[in-house]
Each structure stands twice: as C-alpha cells, then as structure tokens.
C-alpha cells in the first residue's frame, strides 16, 4: 500500500510560523571566506538571536498555530517536535512547548529526529493519531537552528526558522490531507555523529541519489497513485536547501514557476532544515483560497521524503490574519555582519 490515506478524514486546523529577525547576506560570508569570488547559493539566511533556539522558535510557531485554530490547548493529545538541533541531547523540547502552550499534563510529547524530514514525520504520525481517535488534535512542529562548519558550503544556507501545524478532524480543518506518501532508503548523504558540533556531508553525493531521487519518488508516486499530475495543483512546495535544487526538482515534476514561487523562501530565509518545506507551506496557506490544491514534499538526509496532497477548505476564511503571516516575519529584517554572526552562533570558544 503506497498511498497513505486514513479511513477518517483529517486536516490542518491551525498553522503558524516563526523566522528570527537577523539576516546574514551570502555575499558577507563570501567576503570572509572567498574574497567575494564565486557565486552564492541564496541571497541571505535567517540567523537566530543569542537567546533563541529550536524550543523558542517552535514555541512561537505553535502559539501562532493555536491563535489560528482557536481551540482549547487541553484538547491537544500530542505535541511532537522534529529537529536536528534540539537544545538538549537528553530532555525533550516537546515537554517545554507543551507546558508553555497549556497542553500539559495529559498529552503525548516526543522529539523526532530525521535530519530535514523530522518535521513532516510528525505530520504523518499526527494524521494517523487523530484519524485513529487517539487524540482530538495533534500538534506537529518542524524547527531548526542549523549550523554549518565555518567556511563550508553549508554555511551559506544553514538557517533558523520553523512551522507548526495543529491536525484535527476534516470538518474543523482549513485544509484537508487528501493523501500522503513516504519513501525512505539508507543513503549516506549527510550525517552528524554524537558530540560533534558540525555535520559532515557527501559533497556531490547530496544531489542526484539523495535529494532528487527521494523527492521524485515520494511526490511522483503520490501523484501517480492519485491519478493526477502537476497541472492539477495550484501550488507546490519542496524541501529547499538552496534556490537551485527545489526549482530544478519542481520543473522535473512538471511544475511551473507560478506554482513554486510562493512557497520558495530559501533565497531570503535560507535552509531551515526540519522547518523548510513546512515553512514554505505556511507562506502558501497565508494567501490560499478555498479549493486551492497544494503538493508539499519534504526531504531529509539519510534519506527520505514525505509528500502530501492538500486541499484548502472554506474554513480558511478569516483564519489567515489571526496570527502574523510568514511574510510579516520575512519583512522583519535586521542585517548583521559576519562578526556579529560568529558571536550570536557561539562560533568562538571563550574558554
């Protein structure tokens, strides 16, 4: 059974995003490491302030999702946070968020890990949890404060941000999950061993056999099983480690620029890892109209993809303005230089 479709309909009851205000232009990184020579993969990336981490980012996104859902947080039966930058190695991010939004004590809570796919894992599980009657609502969050080794190609894009989704019954939802599809293999494209600060990656190996293969399989299979194609969707949003990969992938899947540009935030936000495709989806929902169809597909190294076919309902009316839009956060922009970045991201050992 390749298509995942629960016997009871579920959807998104509320969604929210968060992007830190600091921006590090890629040309500033190039100034320090390559004397400004060569191309850069994006324009700029979002950098967290010194008092921000995956918990604070996920929490603000969750509060925005609650503001749109307008539900009692005590009815949330699962708080799940997907990230590769949880603040503690041992001690859940999810219990802090659950406590801060008032969902404790009778709720499931767990931290999920699968590189950049950790966030959409919580959505897949949340659909099943709600459809199976285990909880009225499930809160799924993808958030990261990704770090690249200084001077490494990843440093240009490794950014911070996140998104949160409250999953509930179809009749309460502002957008429905029509079906989803997961595709995973053991692929060593990117990894980080315990206690290591920065990740390692397989260089060019991260492209074809990893990103392109898994998204093509998960998104392609979903569309073929649903008997539809790119032209049946109004919007598409893919995992976005840079600008080039998602544009090329979307074109391979048959999409046009008008379908991907709304959800493609990486040129001005960077790669928010577990937050990336989920954050792009919030930017689409912010402007979506009833009846719009959206294809969303994540990618996480290691490797795998989750794809979702989503249809916006009449309930979206009035919900979009109940919390800050993703564009509001993108517009809140304070440019920093490399020295400030080094300080905020603690790249200098003081003792």
């Amino acid at each position: 059974m390749r298509l995942m479709k629960p016997s009871v309909g579920t959807g998104i009851v509320g969604y929210g995003s968060y992007i830190p205000q600091y921006r590090l232009p890629a040309r500033e990184i190039a100034r320090v490491w390559t004397d400004g020579q060569g191309g850069v993969p994006i324009t700029e990336k979002a950098v967290p302030g010194p008092d921000e981490d995956t918990m604070t980012i996920g929490l603000e996104a969750a509060r925005n999702a609650l503001a749109r859902a307008q539900i009692n947080p005590q009815d949330i039966g699962a708080v799940w946070v997907g990230s590769e930058s949880h603040p503690y190695a041992v001690k859940p991010t999810s219990t802090i968020i659950a406590e801060a939004i008032g969902a404790t004590p009778h709720t499931e809570a767990a931290d999920w890990q699968f590189a950049c796919k950790a966030g959409t894992e919580t959505i897949q599980a949340g659909i099943g949890f709600v459809a199976g009657g285990m909880a009225r609502y499930a809160l799924g969050i993808g958030a990261d404060t990704a770090q690249g080794r200084p001077g490494d190609a990843l440093e240009y894009t490794a950014a911070a941000g996140g998104a949160a989704y409250i999953i509930g019954a179809a009749e309460e939802s502002l957008a429905l999950f029509e079906a989803s599809c997961s595709y995973v293999t053991d692929t060593p494209d990117f990894w980080r061993r315990p206690t290591m600060h920065y990740p390692s990656h397989g260089g060019r190996f991260t492209g074809e056999p990893a990103y392109f293969h898994h998204i093509a399989a998960a998104a392609g299979e979903l569309m073929s099983q649903l008997g539809c194609s790119a032209k049946d969707f109004d919007y598409v949003v893919l995992h976005q480690p840079n600008k080039k990969f998602p544009e090329r992938m979307a074109a391979i899947l048959g999409f046009e620029k008008e379908q991907w540009e709304t959800g493609l935030l990486s040129p001005t936000v960077g790669n928010t890892y577990a937050g990336a495709s989920m954050l792009g989806l919030t930017a689409i929902l912010d402007i979506a109209k009833p009846g719009d169809k959206i294809l969303c597909c994540s990618f996480g190294s290691g490797a795998g993809s989750d794809s979702f076919s989503i249809q916006v309902t009449e309930n979206i009316a009035g919900k979009q303005q109940l919390a800050p839009t993703t564009q509001n956060y993108i517009n809140r922009r304070t440019e920093i230089d490399y020295a400030t970045y080094v300080r905020y991201r603690k790249k200098l050992q003081m003792q």
Binding site: Q21, G49, P50, D51, E52, D53, M55, T56, L59, E60, P87, Y88, I96, E99, A100, G102, Q321, P324, T325, N328, Y329, N331, R332, T334, K346
Partner: protein, 136 residues
C-alpha cells in the same frame, strides 16, 4: 543546585505563560501572584489570570556587566513594562538595539532563553519583551 532547580520549576507558569492573579473583590490584576491585593488589601483566594503579553516600555536601563549566566546576551536592556491590564513588570528586552529603546515603545511578550547554567546545567526559559511585530 536542587533548590535552584525547584525554584525554576515552581515558577514555570508565570515564566512561560505570564499567569498572574485577579483580585475577586476589586478585579485588580496582579503580576507576579501575591497573597494580598495591594489595591484593596483583600486576602481571599485569587483566581489565575493570563495576561495578554502586550504593553509598553515605562522605563529602561542597559546592563553592561551582567551576572553569571547572562554574559552572552550583554549588553542588554532591562525595562519596566506597563502591561495593558495595568501591572508593571520587570523584564529583559530582546530583538531590539539598546539605543532604539524609548519610553512608550509598544512591546509584546515572547519566550526566550533567560540564562544558561554553563555547558552542563539547565537552560532557563522565560518571558522577555520585544517591539510589537508589524503585521500590516
């Protein structure tokens, strides 16, 4: 250490959700919670009250020599914030340049890292205030 952990744990609903109290007699809103209403001296049980988190800067000062655990944020601005429900609350400001803080600046509550107890200790989270987000 254990006393310190217990103190942080007891304060979590105040720190995470800005939960104070409302006086059942004169409906004065209080933060932090206290035993006796400072307005009417009523000492009956006071129900929880969750503040909106919006307010404005009443006064402010910049800290250049912070205590242990706060060094990585310095220099930072601490303000007396007048909440829209009335009470004054002392808190650190965030996401704002120290020289951009003015009396009357509209601010809103966010939850951020307050301090970290070294590399091995707890991360303490709680309320700070930032300039109100432009949503237009």
């Amino acid at each position: 250490m254990t006393i310190e952990i217990a103190r942080h744990w007891r304060l979590k609903s105040q720190r995470y959700q800005l939960v104070g109290e409302v006086c059942p007699k004169c409906s004065n809103k209080m933060f932090p919670p206290r035993d006796v209403c400072p307005e009417c001296a009523d000492d009956s049980a006071q129900p929880d009250f969750k503040f909106s988190g919006r307010g404005e800067v009443y006064s402010h000062t910049t800290v250049h020599n912070p205590p242990d655990g706060y060094q990585e944020m310095a220099p930072y601005t601490v303000a007396l914030v007048k909440l829209e429900e009335g009470p004054l609350i002392t808190a650190q400001l965030t996401d704002v340049a120290n020289d951009a803080v003015k009396i009357g600046l509209p601010v809103e509550m966010v939850t951020r890292k307050l301090s970290t107890q070294g590399d091995e200790g707890l991360i303490v989270y709680g309320y700070k205030f930032r300039p109100q987000l432009a949503t237009a």
